[in-house]
């Protein structure tokens, strides 16, 4: 495996262009976006506000009464699903071969699509309530 990694650095950039090179760049670009979005998400929702207050009513009446936060959370959904599932595709590729690898990769894509669908449904269709006060 040492040939596939530069010491201390990331996975070697795929040569020859194409989809794999695009994925290599998109992993890094989505990672930079997630650096900001995930850390701010965690600090806002787990540190600044107490998470035990964030029940379903709180999400409807406070968090998602704002189109801005709905848009930010939808962007976060897309970036995190791409980054985490493409990362898992790399893990599956490292530990499995042949038909098992193909089956696991397809299962990852199906699960990612399912989560994208249900996440998009809830962020788009949860009733929009004007916040009190």
């Amino acid at each position: 495996m040492s040939a596939r990694y530069t010491r201390g650095s990331g996975r070697v950039k795929p040569g020859g262009g194409g989809l794999e090179l695009a994925v290599w760049y998109l992993m890094r670009l989505s990672g930079l976006g997630l650096f900001v979005l995930v850390i701010s998400h965690y600090l806002i929702l787990h540190v600044i506000t107490a998470p035990d207050k964030e029940n379903a009513d709180w999400i409807v009446q406070m968090r998602w009464s704002s189109v801005f936060w709905r848009a930010m959370d939808w962007l976060l959904l897309m970036l995190v699903l791409f980054h985490s599932f493409m990362g898992m595709r790399t893990v599956v590729g490292d530990y499995s071969r042949g038909g098992v690898r193909v089956a696991l990769t397809m299962a990852l894509y199906a699960l990612a699509f399912f989560l994208f669908a249900i996440g998009t449904i809830v962020v788009m269709t949860l009733p929009n309530v004007v916040p009190p006060g």
């Binding site: 495996m1 990694y5 530069t6 010491r7 201390g8 650095s9 990331g10 950039k13 890094r28 990672g31 930079l32 997630l34 650096f35 995930v38 850390i39 965690y42 600090l43 787990h46 540190v47 107490a50 998470p51 035990d52 964030e54 029940n55 379903a56 009513d57 999400i59 409807v60 959904l77 995190v80 699903l81 985490s84 599932f85 990362g87 898992m88 893990v91 490292d94 530990y95 699960l111 989560l115 249900i118 996440g119 449904i121 809830v122 269709t125 949860l126």
Partner: protein
């Protein structure tokens, strides 16, 4: 690969990156489903939230935060080296800087989450 440790910061950084990444992926699956339940079954969401607010839930929240912070900082280190290869010479220095930043952000966050933990146990601090 994970168990055949050959030593060196690069290998350790890679192993931690992979372990934290898989853990975060597993939580993302749970978290997208729980937020879907806010619309589909709000009472089920509130029940799950009351688990997140237990001492065990808060401990897991703290570990999630540590995994996210490590993965983010080491990911930034990887991006720096991949986009500016001469920086690979400084991979050990950046690894140590990462742990300094990890502590600077992690210690105050740990204090805030420890207060939630103490509150959930009924301690007064």
């Amino acid at each position: 690969m994970l168990v055949r440790y050959h030593g060196g910061e690069g290998m350790l950084a890679w192993a931690f990156h992979r372990i934290s990444g898989v853990a975060i992926w597993a939580f993302v699956i749970l978290h997208v489903i729980d937020i879907f339940l806010v619309g589909a079954a709000p009472k089920v969401y509130d029940t799950l939230l009351s688990f997140y607010a237990t001492p065990i839930g808060i401990l897991m929240e703290w570990l999630l935060g540590a995994a996210v912070l490590y993965h983010a900082l080491n990911g930034l280190r990887i991006v720096i080296m991949d986009f500016w290869p001469p920086m690979t010479r400084y991979h050990r220095v950046m690894w140590r800087i990462n742990w300094v930043i990890f502590a600077i952000i992690g210690i105050p966050v740990t204090w805030v989450i420890f207060r939630q933990f103490a509150h959930a146990l009924g301690w007064t601090i």
